[in-house]
Symmetry: C2
Subunit: 359 residues, 2 copies
């Protein structure tokens, strides 16, 4: 395993070469309507009851380029990191494919690792909490993974993983705190930069464990493109932001935000890239209502299916006055070309119904 | 106005030239998962309680190419016909743009005509039933149209339209029973044929008033590509199918199918193309549950937002044994490349929530 210090733009470029045969180059979409909305000041009323109450609404100019990882294999960017981790394992003389790989995840990483392992005929062992939804279990099983159920806490999951490693010799592939995963996730931004004809002023991505955000930061580390992270503020899910501005990584999060992919704290290796190496330029958060409003826009205007976690970057661009003031100031009359990564589209239809039932 | 008899492939080609600057060439999507599902026999159990109960499930091979008119301007193919009608009106020496255009519609055609008229600075008068949903009224208003409310019956709407014509001299642009509308709608199929590298064995489209289906039939009339229509069977919304196989156009429909764009009877001019000129090769219908199941697949697998009316063609390909047996017989071991037109993506989020709340 390469050490975190060695991660650079080149790591992401090499990852891209390795995984290209296995992933989709996902499309980049734009919407005139959303650009107009993003480039229109919010109403003073909409700022009441927020920290910007009474302030003059900012007036940034934004042209947004949506990188649609909801169209990625297994419906999320996680396929990138998983295929990269598997390809790198296969290159290692110490790796015995018959022993397999193991991870603990109930979400997109479980499906991604299962698919990547299956593609190379490597057994995949997935630790899932017993409370996982039947649809997620079914999706993981459909990639021929072997599921082991555990209790919901981190120690319980880790114990279950250790047990499997002891009995099978499987290699652990964690969902984000791993250099190969991070380099793989960064390939989405690499593509985005090459797909948009004009240079991007910035890219904003969701931040859960920080794999996507730190990988994006590496991808942009030798360009003028700034990188920002977006999080839900609900019940402290903005751990990345709080850590970033206090200088100390927040190690535990317990939030039931609708952005269910963003309920985890930022991992150690992502943190070293995001904060210690200063490769991320700022962190912003949004409310549950703002996530819902952004979801609504994406469904109504872009006509694509996204999960709530996927739209936090768009919600920041539309509703976070700190972010918007910064764009107004730095972008001026020319404005900014902003890349927004839609991280995934795996929302259960029941959850979708619940989310929109009163709208 | 050209007479219906003159409508040919050339009419559609000319329409395409006229409207190209105003419309999107929408993408064509495919899904390995959906192809596998479509090429797998249904279970005998799933056929119980259907007209095919007890029969051996068919085993067709299908490669489906989805023409995504949900990504079209105003979110539906209707933009094509409306822009074409406006462009042709502008060419007519008798047309006085200041007098405007009028139609009676509560749905996609109202928005399409409003947008097309606004683009040429022509006033648009829209007759909508008083019971229209606020979201549809708002969408139509956003294109600067002038709305007149009427009672919900056809005579009430026609009286309201006549009143506007008398007072303004506006030109009536009906939603489907008009040669320029039909030629415009046919341009979606024209694009689809050119976007898929292999020749299509067939195209299937939804059939409400028949504008899209008859336009598609014209687009394919000089090629080997067969054309089929798809309808909901609920409460007699399969009027096109019943008319087609009885030889007599059904003139009235009263159905509350979830495919709300398909509640109208086939118009006279579409009928002349579909049935009298024999340019459509067959009509098929599906149940409300089959429409829901197809919607679910599209949301989960293609990750695109479609309205219920849009997926009836896919539902036929997946669940209608008459259609599937025909494909098995005619396509044999090579199978068929089938174009499926997704007609639109304008579903209210409340309706979406209702549709998926128990899934």
């Amino acid at each position: 395993m390469s050490s975190p210090e060695t991660l650079t733009l080149a790591s992401v470029q090499e990852a891209h070469k390795l995984i290209k045969p296995f992933i989709h180059q996902t499309p980049v979409l734009t919407s005139t309507y959303i650009n107009t909305l993003a480039s229109t000041p919010q109403t003073p009323e909409s700022l009441s009851n927020t920290e910007w109450s009474g302030q003059t609404p900012s007036n940034p100019i934004l042209r947004i380029h949506f990188k649609c990882e909801n169209f990625q294999r297994i419906g999320a960017f996680k396929a990138r990191g998983a295929f990269h981790a598997i390809e790198r394992l296969k290159q290692s003389p110490d790796f015995d494919p018959s022993r397999g790989v193991v991870t603990h995840s109930s979400g997109n990483h479980a499906q991604a690792l299962s698919l990547a392992a299956k593609t190379s005929s490597i057994p995949a062992y997935i630790i899932m909490p017993t409370i996982s939804t039947p649809s997620k279990i079914a999706a993981t099983l459909s990639y021929s993974a072997q599921i082991t159920f555990s209790g919901p806490t981190a120690p319980e999951r880790e114990a279950a993983a250790q047990k499997i490693i002891s009995s099978t010799g499987a290699a652990l592939i964690p969902p984000y705190d791993h250099p190969h995963i991070i380099a793989g996730q960064g390939t989405a931004a690499l593509e985005l930069l090459s797909q948009v004809p004009t240079p991007l002023n910035a890219i904003i991505t969701p931040c859960g464990g920080g794999g996507l955000l730190s990988g994006t930061a590496l991808a942009c580390s030798e360009s003028k493109t700034k990188v920002f992270g977006a999080e839900p503020s609900f019940e402290g899910a903005d751990d990345g932001k709080r850590g970033y501005y206090s200088g100390k990584r927040v190690e535990a999060v317990k939030s039931l935000t609708i952005g269910d992919g963003l309920r985890t704290p930022v991992g150690k290796i992502p943190w070293s890239i995001i904060y210690e190496r200063r490769l991320v330029d700022g962190m912003y958060s949004v409310t549950e209502d703002q996530i819902r409003a952004a979801m609504r826009l994406v469904y109504e205007r872009l006509k694509v299916v996204v999960e709530p976690s996927a739209v936090v970057g768009l919600a920041v661009a539309l509703y976070n006055e700190d972010f918007r003031k910064m764009v107004e100031q730095e972008g001026g009359e020319e404005g900014w070309d902003l890349g927004v990564v839609f991280s995934g589209g795996n929302v259960s239809l029941a959850a979708l119904g619940e989310l929109f039932k009163d709208q």
